[in-house]
Amino acid sequence: MPGLRDVAAITGIGETSYRRGEAQGSSLSLTLQASLAAIADAGLYPRDIDGVIPIASGAVVAEDFITNFGIPDLRFSATTPMGGASPVAAIQCAAAAIAAGICRHVLLPIGRTGYSGARISTRVHQMPQFRVVGEFEMPMGGIAPAQLYAPMARRHMEMFGTTSRQLAEIAVTTRNHAILNGNAAMTKPISIEDHQDSRMISDPLRLLDCSLESDGGAAVVISAADAARDMRRPRVLVSGMAEGHPDSPSVITQRPELTRLGIAKAAPRAFAMAGVTHADIDVAEIYDCFTYIVLCQLEDLGFCAKGEGGAFVEGGALGLGGRLPVNTHGGLLSQAHMAGMNHIVELVRQLRGDGGAAQVAGAEIGVVTGYGDMGDGSIAIMRRG
C-alpha cells in the first residue's frame, strides 16, 4: 500500500460553540472542552489517548493532557509549527506515528481566544517564523498577514485578470454555508455588493476577504485504522496526506513565484498516495484565512490551471450543488478561526453524512487543506470506509 494510505482514521470530532463576544474560557479550557467532546465522540475515555499533537502557538503543551486527563502513559507528542497549516500537517505526523506502532489514538486539539484575548491579526510577529519579516518589513509598516499576503493577490490580478468580485464569490458562498451550519460566529447573509462595499484593509483585500478573530476550541482523534473498525462512529480513513513548503518560505517578497503556494508541491503526493483524482473529490474544505488564499489553493491543488481560479469560483461554483462544494461549515471567513481544525471536523462530518443542512449529497471522498506561515501547505484526502 503506498505510503500512509489508510493506516489511520479520524474516529472522533469535537467543537465548542464559536463566538465573538464575552470570553467562554481560557485557551486551555477551550482546548480541553473540545478534546473531551472529540474523545467522547470516538467512544473513548480520556486515558485511552496515547499521543497528542497540540496546535497552539505555545499556549498549550502535551503535558497539559497528562495533567488534566490522567493519561498514564503518553507515548507520543509532537508539534507541527506551520501556522494555519499545522492541524492538517499534524494528521500526517499522527499517521506516521501510528504506522510506526508508537501509539494508537492521537489527539489533535486547539483552543483560542482570538477575539477576547490578544487579537490574532497583530500578534503573529511574536512567532519565530515571522522573525525575518519582523526585522526587515515590519519597520516599514508591513505588520499584519493581510498586508504581507496582499501582494500575492495583487500579482495574481495583474497577471491573470482576477477580480475583487471573484474573491467576493468565495466570501458570499462561505457565509451562506456558515448560516446553514448553525454554530458560526457570523450569521448574517452577505451579497457580492456587501463585499464590494466593505472597507479596504490592504488593497486588494477588503474586510470581507479577511477571516475572523474568534473564540472557541476544536479537536479530532486519529486512530489506527484497525482499531477504528470497531469504534463508536463510522470510520473516516485518511487515504492521502502531505505537507509542502514554498520557495523562500519565510519571506513572500523574495519568493520566485508569488502566486504559487507550498501546497502545489504537496498536492500531487497526496493524490497519488490516496489513488484518487480530482474528479473523485465530492467536497473540499480549503483553508481560508483570506478569500484569495482559497482561489490560489484551488489552482495549486490542480482543480483548475494557474490563473483560472477566478473563473472557476464564479457563479456559485463553490456552493452546495455547485461544481465543487467548498467550506461547507463557513470556514475561517464566517464560522470561526480555529486555524483549520474546524475544516478537518467538517470534512469528517460530511463523510459521515452528518452535514445537516449543509450536507453534500452522497459525499464519499473529500479533501482538506491547511495554509500558514507565509505559504506552508498541508493536505489530507479522506474517504468513508
Binding site: S121, T122, H125, V132, G134, E135, F136, E137, M138, P139, M140, G141, G142, I143, A144, A146, Q147, A150, P151, M152, R154, R155, E158, M159, R199, M200, I201, S202, D203, P204, L205, V251, T253, Q254, L258
Partner: protein, 134 residues
C-alpha cells in the same frame, strides 16, 4: 513623523548589522557570496548556492522594477496611522533580489508590473524608499 508612537524597530543580529549600518550611511547594501558571487537578501550567514560563509556587501544600484504591491488602509499599528493609506511596493532589482519599500510621492493607482522606480534611503526614517524614476 508619528509623534510619540514608535514604529516597530528592527533588532539586528551579527548577521544583519552591516545592512543596518549601511542604511544609516544612506546605502542599501546587498550581500554577495565571496565564493560564487550570488546575491542574497535579506541578509543571512550562508550562501544558498554554494554554502560558503564568505561574503561581501555591495550597494544596490538603485534601479528597481515593480513586481507587486499593496495599499494599506487599515491602521494595524498606531505609528503608521498618520500615513494611511500607504503603498508598500515589491520591486525586482537588477542584482537579482527583491526589496519591499514604501512608495513616496506618486499615485499608487498608477502602479503597474514592470514600472521602473528608483530605490533609495529615506532620510527621515533611515529605511528604504521607492520614488518615481526620473
Amino acid at each position: 513623523m508619528s509623534g510619540a508612537i514608535e514604529r516597530p524597530r528592527a533588532e539586528p543580529s551579527a548577521d544583519t548589522q552591516p545592512y543596518w549600518d549601511g542604511l544609516a550611511r544612506g546605502e542599501i547594501l546587498l550581500q554577495r557570496c565571496g565564493e560564487c558571487g550570488k546575491f542574497r537578501h535579506y541578509p543571512r550567514p550562508m550562501c544558498d548556492g554554494c554554502f560558503s560563509f564568505a561574503h561581501g556587501w555591495v550597494a544596490a544600484s538603485g534601479e528597481a522594477t515593480v513586481h507587486s504591491w499593496t495599499v494599506t488602509h487599515h491602521p494595524f499599528h498606531p505609528a503608521f496611522r498618520p500615513l494611511l493609506p500607504y503603498a508598500l511596493v515589491t520591486v525586482d532589482l537588477p542584482e537579482g533580489v527583491r526589496v519591499l519599500a514604501p512608495l513616496e510621492g506618486g499615485d499608487p493607482a498608477d502602479l503597474r508590473i514592470g514600472m521602473r522606480l528608483r530605490l533609495g534611503v529615506d532620510a527621515a526614517t533611515g529605511l528604504p524608499v521607492l520614488r518615481g524614476a526620473a
